[in-house]
Each structure stands twice: as C-alpha cells, then as structure tokens.
Symmetry: C6
Subunit: 181 residues, 6 copies
Amino acid sequence: VADASRFFLESEQPPVAGSAVTIALEGSRPLAVEIQALVARSGPGNPRRATTGIDTNRVLMLIAVLARHAGVNLTAHDVYVNVAGGLRIEEPAADLAVAAALASSLRERPIRHGTVLAGELSLAGRVRHAGRAERRIAEARRIGFDRLVTGPGRDSDGNRPEGLVIATDIRAALALAMEPA
Amino acid sequence: VADASRFFLESEQPPVAGSAVTIALEGSRPLAVEIQALVARSGPGNPRRATTGIDTNRVLMLIAVLARHAGVNLTAHDVYVNVAGGLRIEEPAADLAVAAALASSLRERPIRHGTVLAGELSLAGRVRHAGRAERRIAEARRIGFDRLVTGPGRDSDGNRPEGLVIATDIRAALALAMEPA
Amino acid sequence: VADASRFFLESEQPPVAGSAVTIALEGSRPLAVEIQALVARSGPGNPRRATTGIDTNRVLMLIAVLARHAGVNLTAHDVYVNVAGGLRIEEPAADLAVAAALASSLRERPIRHGTVLAGELSLAGRVRHAGRAERRIAEARRIGFDRLVTGPGRDSDGNRPEGLVIATDIRAALALAMEPA
Amino acid sequence: VADASRFFLESEQPPVAGSAVTIALEGSRPLAVEIQALVARSGPGNPRRATTGIDTNRVLMLIAVLARHAGVNLTAHDVYVNVAGGLRIEEPAADLAVAAALASSLRERPIRHGTVLAGELSLAGRVRHAGRAERRIAEARRIGFDRLVTGPGRDSDGNRPEGLVIATDIRAALALAMEPA
Amino acid sequence: VADASRFFLESEQPPVAGSAVTIALEGSRPLAVEIQALVARSGPGNPRRATTGIDTNRVLMLIAVLARHAGVNLTAHDVYVNVAGGLRIEEPAADLAVAAALASSLRERPIRHGTVLAGELSLAGRVRHAGRAERRIAEARRIGFDRLVTGPGRDSDGNRPEGLVIATDIRAALALAMEPA
Amino acid sequence: VADASRFFLESEQPPVAGSAVTIALEGSRPLAVEIQALVARSGPGNPRRATTGIDTNRVLMLIAVLARHAGVNLTAHDVYVNVAGGLRIEEPAADLAVAAALASSLRERPIRHGTVLAGELSLAGRVRHAGRAERRIAEARRIGFDRLVTGPGRDSDGNRPEGLVIATDIRAALALAMEPA
C-alpha cells in the first residue's frame, strides 16, 4: 500500500486524459489504483478491445453502458484498458473509474484534480454505492485526493463522510468527475 | 446475505427496464440476486453476446427459447447480461429471471413491482418448479417483494406457500412478470 | 436421485417434441435424465451450435451421424442441446437420447409415451448396447416408463430384461422411439 | 479390459467402412480400442474437423500425412474422428488406426477382417514400430483378430511374433489393412 | 543469474536492431533479460501478433501506446516479441524494453551500446520509475552496461544512483535509448 | 532414454526431408529427439499452422525468423510440426532443429547424415550456444551422429568438444546442416 500511495503522492505531472483513480478494497484494506484507457479511431474490420488487469467482458459491458446511457460512443474506436502497476481488479466497484477513464480518453479531457471514483454500474446506467466508503475516502485523502464520486446509499453506521459526491447514474457521475471542456 | 438484502431494501429508485430479481439458493440459504440485461440494435457483422457472472452458452439458449416460444426476437440485437454485485450464478433456476430481464430490456418495460422469478426453463419453453420455493418466497418477502413467479409443482411438504404465482411456460411467465404496456 | 425421479413422476404435461429421457449411470446408480434439443432455421452465416451439460464436439458428431445414417439433416439449422436440471453428462450411452431429441425437434414429433433411450452411437450409425441395462430399465419402470431402446447385446448375466427394445442402428432406433407422424 | 474385449467378441455385425481397431497400451496392459471416422463432402466455408477422445491437432496432422504420402485427400470433406466407449487416446501408436479409419471412410471400404493396426506415423509418412508388439498381438488374438499391421523393428527380446505384418510407410500400411476394392 | 550474465558478457557480436535489455527483479534479485522484436510488412488480412514469454495483450497495448504517443506505427506490420532464454516476464517494468525493441526493429536501428531500460508505461505514454533502480543499475554495470533508462522518481533511500537516465515519456525514452540514425 | 536411442540406432531407412534431430536436456540428462516438419502449398484462406509437442507460437516465430533471415518463405504453405514419440519440448535450444526441419521440408532436401542441431534462435536470426554442449555431443555420438551444429560460445569448463560445428546465424546453420542440392 505504502508503495502505491507514494506513487500518487510523488507524481508532479499534470493530470492526463484517459486516467482515473479508484480506491479498491483488498479485504478491508483500501488501495489506490489507477485505471488507464486509450481509445483510437479503428481501421477497417472489427474494432479492437484489449485489456490487462481487468476482465475484457466487463469492459465490453461498460462500453455498452456508456453508449446507451451517457452518449459516449466507442463503436468506431479501438479500446485499451490497463490497470497500473500490474494489479488485477475483480471488484465491481472499479466500474465507475473504468467508465470515467474511457470517457476521459474519448473526450480528451482529464478527470478533475483531486477526484477518485468508486461504484458498480448497472446495465441500466445506475451507480451503486461503494461499500465502506468512509475507509475509501480516508485513504483518498491521505494521498492527496479530496472527492470520492460514488452512488447513493450510506455505510452501515449511517454516516455520510465528508468528501463524498453522490451520482445516481453514469451521466451524472461523468459530469461530476470530468473537467468542464 | 444481509448486505445483498440491504441493497434491495434501501433502493428508492423506480424500477428500470432490463432488471429482474431472482432468489437463488446458496446451499440452502436463499439470496436475492439482480439480473441485468441490456440489448441494443447491432451494427453489421455478428451480433455481440457478452455476459459476466453467468455462462454465455446458457444465455444463448435462453435467447433461442425466447425467440421460439415467446416471440421475443433478439437476432438483430447485441445482448449483454450481468449479475449484480460481482456474483456468479450456476443454478438453472436463474433462467426465468435472465429471460425476463432480456424481454424487459427489449420491450423497454420494467418487471412488475414486488415480483421476483425463479425457475429453470426447458428448451421447449416450459418452466420447472424452483425447489424450496417456500424458503425463496420468505426471503423475497423479507426484502420487500411479495410475488414469486415459478413453474408448476410443489415443495416436498406438499404446501404451496402464499405469494407463489405459477406459470407453465415462458410466455405465461413473462405476462405475469411484466407491467402491461 | 429421489428428486430427479419425482420430477418425472409429477409432471402431468403432455410430452413435447425435442425432449428425450435417458437412464444414466452414476457409478452404478441409475439416474433419469432429460435431454432437450431445440432446432431453428438459421440465418445467414454459420449455423449456431450451443450446448449446456454435454460436450459440444459430441453433439457435432451426432449431428453428422444423423445426417449420414438417418436422413436427419441439420445443416441449415441452429442447434441447441441442454441437459435438464443443470446436470453434466459424460457417458457415451447418452448418445441415443441426444440424437432422438434432435430428430424429434426437427420433425416436431414427440418421443413415444413411456420410452427412454440409452446406447452409444458409432460414427457408422450403429447402436452399442448400454451396460447394466437391467438396472436402467428397473429405474425407468419405477418412474413410469416401460420401454428402453438400446443396442443389441446382453448383460453379464445373460438375461434380457423385459421392456428392452433392441435397435441395431440409429434409423431403427428413431423409428422405435418416435410417434408415428 | 474384460468389457472392451467382450464388445469385440460378441459383435456379430459385418465390418463397416470407417472403423479400425488398435491395441493400445495402458501402462503395460494391452487394450483393444475402436477408432471411428466419418467423412462427408463439406459445404461452402472451411471444412469441419471435430474429434472426441483424441487431440484434434493430431488428426489435422494425420490428414496432412494422408494427403501428402498416401493420396488420400480430405480437403473438401468434413472429418469426424471418435474413439469408441468414451475412451481417450494419448499414445502416438494409435496414429495408424486413425489414418486407416479415415482412408476407409473416404474409400467406403472396410478394414480387412481380423486386422488391427498400431504404430506412430511420422510427418514423412513412415510407420514406427509399436513397442511391446508381442503383448499387443496376443491381446488381438484373444479377441478374434489375427494380424497386427505395424512398422519395421523388433521388440526388446529380438523376436518377431507371429501375426505381425510390417509396413514401412503409410501407403503400404493402408494397402495391407484394407480390403481390395 | 550467473548463466544469464555470462551470456551477455561473452557475446562479442555487434548489437542488432530489435533487441533491448531490461533488468528484471525476481523477488529482490536483479536479472538481465533480453527482449527481442521482429516486425515485418504484413500481407492481406489482419496483421499477426505472436509472443512468447510475455502476455500478448500487454504487447497489443504497447503497440497502441507507440502509435499514439511516439509516432511508431505498426498497423501494417506483423509483430513478434520474444523473451530470450525461454524466460517469462510478468513485471510491468519490462514495458520500456519491449517498446524499445519494437521501435528499434521498425526503424532498423539498434539500441545504444551500454544501455538497458526498465519502467512501466502508462497508456498516456508516461514512464513510471522502476523500483529498486539502484540494484538494477548495479547488476547492469556488472555485466557491461552503464546506462539505465527509466522514469522520473527516486528509490526509497532518496538517492539517485549514477548511470540513471530519466525519461518522462515514451518519446523521450526512445530518443535516449536508440542510436541516432 | 534407452528406448529413444534404440529407435535411432535401429533405423536403417535413408534420411528424409523434413526431419531433424536435436539433443534435448531433461534436467541434466541428454535425450535425442526427432523434430518433423511437413509443409504443403495452402489453398485459399489463411495457411494452416498445426503443431503437436511444441508451442504453436514458438513455431510462428521461427517461421518469421526463417523468412526474414534465411530466405525461407512459408507464407503460402500450410505448416505442420511434430515431435516424434509423443514427447513435448519446452527447451528453446530445440529452435534450431525445428527451423532446420522446416527448411528441409520446403527445399525437399534431408539434413546431412550424422548431424544433430541444438541452439536457441533470436528474432534477429542469431544462434545461441546450447548449454552443456559436451554432454549433448556425447549422447549424439553414442547413437551414431558425429556433428552438433550450435551457436558460438563455450561450456563452463572452457572446452570446445570435438564434433561441435559453430554457426553464428540461422543462414549459416542451415548451410552447415543441409545436404547440398
């Protein structure tokens, strides 16, 4: 964890399009993970979809959700998704960061400074609340982020920690997460 | 289980097309599981079928059953099926909810409020009774549902619990499960 | 076993085309298993072949045997084969029931009332005797069937139990198993 | 073993095209195994190659060897290969029986009465001697066969058992194994 | 390790295009590994991508990063990547050497004498600092290399060892690693 | 080992095109292994590449190396590679024998009498010295071979055993290994 956090803290480069950070849970330990997307107009033939560190079928679904519910159309683009650091993500709460990285790459606009995302997406485009949001936002804050975009709901203790930004659906989440054009 | 149930109880959003709930059995413990489907007119080339949390061949069969026995034709649509929460469903009794989610997405009509579905589908379009239906309906009721659509038959104790709605075939099951247009 | 048998005993629905019952052996215990087939005229492109509960290559072979040795041609049809109840069949003796379900679905004629099938098919279209036929027919009788179609031969004790119907090849087996048109 | 042998002993049917028997070694125990092939003129598109009980790549190679070194051309045929009884063959010595079954099916001429085959084929079309040939021919004789076609060589004891028929290459082996037209 | 090092020390051949050396970490032990690339104008149909010793999806991504961020376009080339010595590389820090080998092969210019590379690439084309760079450069020096191209950052002890050459992005890294034309 | 050696010793057949022998190391035990290749003009569609006993991707690479660095072009040929005796080869030192078998089959000229090959190929076409060459040549001699073609270098003891023939690249290795036309 220390290592992963240090990477984010030390980086002095300006944010780039196609990169989104989520706070994953490994067991109960929060871990900052960078999701990267790269989209490029595809040539003739089927567009390419290649992923490392995340299930390709999951990405296919998120691409379909973006098209149907957020007006983000990748039909004519090759799509690459990568999880930084050689990590492998299984948790559905990474959905929101993957979708945000894809939209960010297509629109060539970076995610807003200080923003992380966590929340499962349904095929109807709704965002599900990320469990243990308090732990996630605490870790985010520790490494220099101050907003966690997630879905509606509350943690078991009924509190809504400071810094939580609630989005009901994918369209709202993208609006909250991305820099205005 | 608590977690899964809480998710259904807390949700205050109106029901959406393409979502159906089944009560699965993990061993003998009932568990509410949301099945999501998304269908979209496909472009040229073979229509896409991508699934997470359920065997793709199973979904191919259910698509064929829907076409033959319920007049639900997905030949010209890309089809995505997802099991919410990152769960994996192996039980054939999930068939009915998968088929209902697909039909609901295509027709853009949500499943009726308070309705869950459980029952294996045969390739002839018949619905098989979901075992331990009494336990399933009890769990459904606990989290705010009051109807369980399943196939004909009875549990080992011979009782037919209240709230059970019996459908002999897939066409009848869809009619009972979906909102009138 | 009890469960599987009860399913067959309780069912009061008329027999449907595309369904055939075999008596499988799990170790030495007989088990009634329903094989379902669904065939449908295929669109342009390669016809689809999807199976659950049985090896797809096995089904490809049986389709070829049906074409060559029984005049049952599925070249222009999508083909789905399913084993009811989420079971998985490895025993070659299921061949005859799979082939009968396929022919029954194509011809839209159900298998004769009271008939089960068991026997491996060779690529030359011959039916091999199902081992322990006496145990199989006993189980079949217990749940309401009275005829077991299988290949020539005899059990180790040299007896031929009552209810055994012998077919040398696939064409004869189908004639014995299916309702006249 | 008893079972497999009995099957061959009891069979009173005339030999069919597309069937060849090998004597495999399971550890050091000989076992009679029937290899079945079915070839059929293929439709448009790539010809189909489906196998059960034997590696498909192995069969692709044997098809190439037959074309190059024996004038048996299957380019325009769908090809199915099956190992009877649900067995799985890993031993390269099964090559000769697979190749003979394929040629027998294409030419519609059965393998000669009383003949079994064992021997690995090289890509140059040469037949390698089957190890422990003495044990293999003894088992063959016990169940009613009297000739074992194999490659040149001798067993560790230097004897050449009676009934061994030696073929240097695939063309010679097929000539020795098949009925004259 | 001894063996791998000796290979590099003994080689008296001039450097070739398409070869790049990385210093991998096996646990905490540094190990020199040669990455080889071969690109060749592809014929009609999809260009071929084949790899041994490294995940093919990883290479697909690096090809996309080279196209987008370094002007190295392999769309019309077959691409082969191989890890020498039958090794398998999982560490993302090998990215930079793979990308350099690909660019070197396309441009037909070798990597500069004495240069090794280590660093993960992001889909935005940025180079991440290779952890334990001090150990890596020490091993590189032991076998005759004196420059390690990697990304910005520093090791846990805060030192920047001699011989480290820092590149922020893939374009800068290639310029530093390759012989001028 | 005894068995494998005996096979080579006993064989009295003239050498054939498409066959090359390597001396592999199983642990530290040397083992003579025959690599077989068969190439045939391919029909329309993608040329076929099928292998048994060796990784197909490895063969794809060797085909690319032969095209680029030795003028051996297999683009329009179906290619089959087989390891005799049902063995599986993982050692990269088998590369040289695989490449030689492929070139030998295409040119229809056998490998020179008494010659074995061992050495990993780089994508640049260079031959790497086969480790423990002394043990390999000793085994080769024991079964009737007297030349081992490999890459430049020496064994750990600094000796170069008699019978070693050194080739720096694939083109030189093929010239040394094959019969003049």
